[in-house]
Every structure is written in structure tokens, then in C-alpha cells.
């Protein structure tokens, strides 16, 4: 372990309310990106009913123990933490397995996170969808949160509920990631714009991820985009989120307003006024 241990590790809940908006993908990519920046990072899959973080990280065959065994003291924490081979700064801890008989309680969650936090700079908690017990468990141990949403009415509405619950629990700061952005549709106003979503949810934006086919490819392979440092737009976006979390000032650019040159600007103008293309 490093001699220079940060006194208080960042414990960040990654949640959305609605399922399928990209929580787990964000957790996996952010985990790798932070680890590559030298941060000792643990990603905790709090969604043990439908756990998938192992699959996205390509670690599905290496899970032997879970947080449940650690809490029951049938194994040590080191045995349950699954280290990523290519990125040893990153470890995965599943909260439990789908066959688990007893659900974890918020107190269990606090205990396991406290144990993990002793050996990490960042703990990312992948929250289950919904706002019921699974969410409450996952939120119990979090200090801050990232809410991820897509520019769709259902996702934004659910995000709003989650933000309300985080506020009443005193989790702060809460920051926003807008996922699956389609700049063309935004420019022609056939999709909620970046400003629309940030206005409605009134949260500071920590990242914008454009819709990117490479996300699907990387999921198929079990290798997060940030692992190989390829230049795909989503990979870049995830890396930038990691840098912003560490306090770096990385400018955020609204891709639907990107101005690349006179021609692009003109086309944008035409697109906006006519809704064509």
C-alpha cells in the first residue's frame, strides 16, 4: 500500500433511478480511467440481484467470494477483491451473488465500504436501478453521488426522483453525467438539449457522453473503452469525467453546439431553422 494514503477516500454512488441508462458502463469505465491516473480504485457492485459489473470488466470468471462472505468472516477482504489484470490499481468487489438468501442491510453496506475505503482512494458504488431497498442500501455508505441520465423524458424524470432522495439523505455533492447524447438530434431540437436537462435537474454537469457504437463493442469484449486508451468519443468522455473528479479543469463542450468551421456553422444554422438533415 502507498505510504501517502489520502485521509478520506472519495466514496461515490453511481445511480440513475431508471435502468439501462449506463450506470454500470460508467462505473466500469470510470474505474479503469481513475486507476490509470494512479488512483487506487475499488468498484463495488451493489446490484447483486442482477449484477453485471463483473461482465463489463471481463472479470466474471474470477469471482469466488463476495462482500457477504467478508461480512460473515468466512474470507478475508483481500480474497474477495478481484484485481484487474491489466490495471492492478483497480479491484472489483461484488456485494453478493444472485442466489443470496439474505439481503444486505444498509449497515452491512456501511461496514463493507468502510473496510474497502481503508485501502482505496476512490470507491465507486454501482447502484441498482429503482429507488427501493437496493438503492437505499447502496446510498447508505455513499458520501457523494453521480447521477447518470439520458436525454429522454423517462430517464430525466427518474433521475429527478433519485436526486430528491439523495438531497434528503444529505449526500453531496451530486453531479450529473448526460449519456447517449446525439448531437444532430439535439441541434435540430428533436431531443432534450444539454441545457434543458441541466436546467430541469439543476445539477452541475461532470460529463457528456455521446452515443458511441464502440461502447457496445467494448461491452461484448469485456474490456472497458478506457482500458486501451483508444480515441473513441465515449472513451475520451469517460477519461474526462475521471479528470474532472480529481479536480482538473477540463472544459465541457456541448457537442450539439460545436463549431468546427464556417461550413459546419452554416449547416448547423440551417439544421436548426429547418430541422433538416
Amino acid at each position: 500500500m502507498d505510504a501517502v494514503t489520502s485521509a478520506s477516500p472519495r466514496i461515490i454512488l453511481i445511480c440513475s433511478g431508471k435502468g439501462g441508462v449506463g450506470k454500470t458502463t460508467l462505473t466500469a469505465n470510470l474505474g479503469i480511467a481513475l486507476a490509470r491516473l494512479g488512483e487506487r480504485t475499488v468498484v463495488l457492485d451493489a446490484d447483486f440481484g442482477l449484477r453485471n459489473l463483473d461482465l463489463l470488466l471481463g472479470l466474471e470468471n474470477r469471482i469466488v467470494y463476495t462482500a457477504q462472505e467478508v461480512l460473515a468472516e468466512t474470507c478475508r477482504l483481500e480474497q474477495a477483491l478481484v484485481k484487474h489484470k491489466q490495471e492492478p490499481n483497480l479491484a472489483l468487489l461484488p456485494a453478493g451473488n444472485p442466489r443470496m438468501l439474505e439481503w444486505l442491510t444498509p449497515e452491512d453496506m456501511q461496514r463493507i465500504v468502510a473496510m474497502v475505503a481503508e485501502r482505496a482512494d476512490y470507491v465507486l458504488i454501482d447502484c441498482p436501478a429503482g429507488i427501493e431497498d437496493g438503492f437505499k442500501n447502496a446510498a447508505a455508505a455513499a458520501r457523494e453521488a453521480i447521477v447518470i441520465t439520458t436525454p429522454e423524458v423517462s430517464a430525466v424524470r427518474d433521475a429527478d426522483r433519485v436526486i430528491g432522495l439523495l438531497n434528503t439523505r444529505g449526500v453531496a455533492p451530486v453531479q450529473l453525467v448526460l449519456n447517449r447524447v446525439r448531437p444532430k438530434m439535439m441541434a435540430s431540437q428533436e431531443m432534450l438539449g444539454v441545457d434543458d436537462v441541466t436546467d430541469i435537474l439543476a445539477l452541475p454537469l461532470v460529463g457528456l457522453v455521446v452515443e458511441d457504437e464502440q461502447v457496445i463493442v467494448s461491452t461484448n469484449r469485456g474490456e472497458p473503452l478506457t482500458l486501451n486508451g483508444n480515441g473513441s468519443p465515449a472513451a475520451k468522455a469517460y477519461q474526462n469525467i475521471a479528470r474532472r473528479l480529481r479536480g482538473e479543469d477540463v472544459p465541457l463542450e456541448d457537442p450539439s453546439k460545436a463549431r468546427r468551421g464556417l461550413r459546419a456553422r452554416l449547416m448547423n444554422k440551417i439544421r436548426k431553422t429547418t430541422g433538416l438533415f
Binding site: V153, T168, R169, Q189, L192, G193
Partner: protein
């Protein structure tokens, strides 16, 4: 976008769907956040109008009581055009006592009352209270 949609937009008959999404969201979130169902809101609206009507005659056709939301703060906004104040001397005296008197033959003027509500539904007992 289909050609039909395009023509509709060109003629100004249809808003772009992103704009509609924003408007619909703002409305539904105002209700979600206040945790008031439409029935309760309607009841409250009626009662507010009743109280206001005791003091002034208002234009029921034009009157509007609704929830609006901005920056995660939901406000109850009442827009009630006043036809004239009730000429009851007792009422006028009572109002004058609290500095709210209005000339009996005042011009109809819409009065906007904005009452901020709690921004979050009270679902959790308190942040300190573990469940």
C-alpha cells in the same frame, strides 16, 4: 423526421419534439416534486379561490392556480385577475389594519402570488434518521 413532420414544422403547426419533451417534463416534475396529486391540487385551488373571493371579486374564467418549478424549487403560482374589491366596510377596515387595503373601485389588476413549496417530497423522515 418525416416529410409530413417537416412541413408541419415549417408551417409552425408543430413544435420540435425536444421542446415538447421539456415542457411535459417541467409539468410532471412540478407535480412529482410537490407530491400533490391533481385531485388535491384541484381541491386546494377551489379553497384558495373561495378565500380570495371573500375579499375581492375575481374573474373565475381567467383565474389560474398552478404549480411551477424552477431550479428544483416548486412554487404555487396563482394568477387571479381582480374585478373589484368587496365593498364591505368591515372587510376594508380589517384589510387596512394589516396594510392591504385596496380602493373599492380599483381597476382590475392581475395579482400574482407565488408561494414556494418545499422543494422535495417528504418521503424520508430526516437525513439523520436511518431506515
Amino acid at each position: 423526421m418525416t416529410l409530413f413532420d417537416f412541413l408541419q414544422r415549417l408551417l409552425g403547426r408543430q413544435k420540435p419534439s425536444g421542446t415538447m419533451a421539456k415542457e411535459r417534463l417541467q409539468l410532471v416534475l412540478a407535480h412529482d416534486r410537490s407530491d400533490l396529486n391533481p385531485e388535491l391540487l384541484e381541491q386546494m385551488r377551489r379553497e384558495i379561490l373561495e378565500v380570495v373571493q371573500r375579499y375581492v371579486e375575481i374573474d373565475l374564467e381567467e383565474g389560474d392556480v398552478s404549480l411551477e418549478t424552477e431550479d428544483r424549487v416548486t412554487a404555487l403560482v396563482a394568477n387571479l385577475p381582480i374585478k373589484r374589491a368587496r365593498p364591505l366596510p368591515a372587510l376594508v377596515a380589517a384589510a387596512a389594519a394589516v396594510g392591504m387595503a385596496q380602493a373599492p373601485d380599483a381597476e382590475p389588476a392581475p395579482q400574482e402570488l407565488a408561494v414556494p413549496l418545499a422543494s422535495e417530497p417528504a418521503e424520508e423522515p430526516s437525513p439523520a434518521d436511518p431506515d
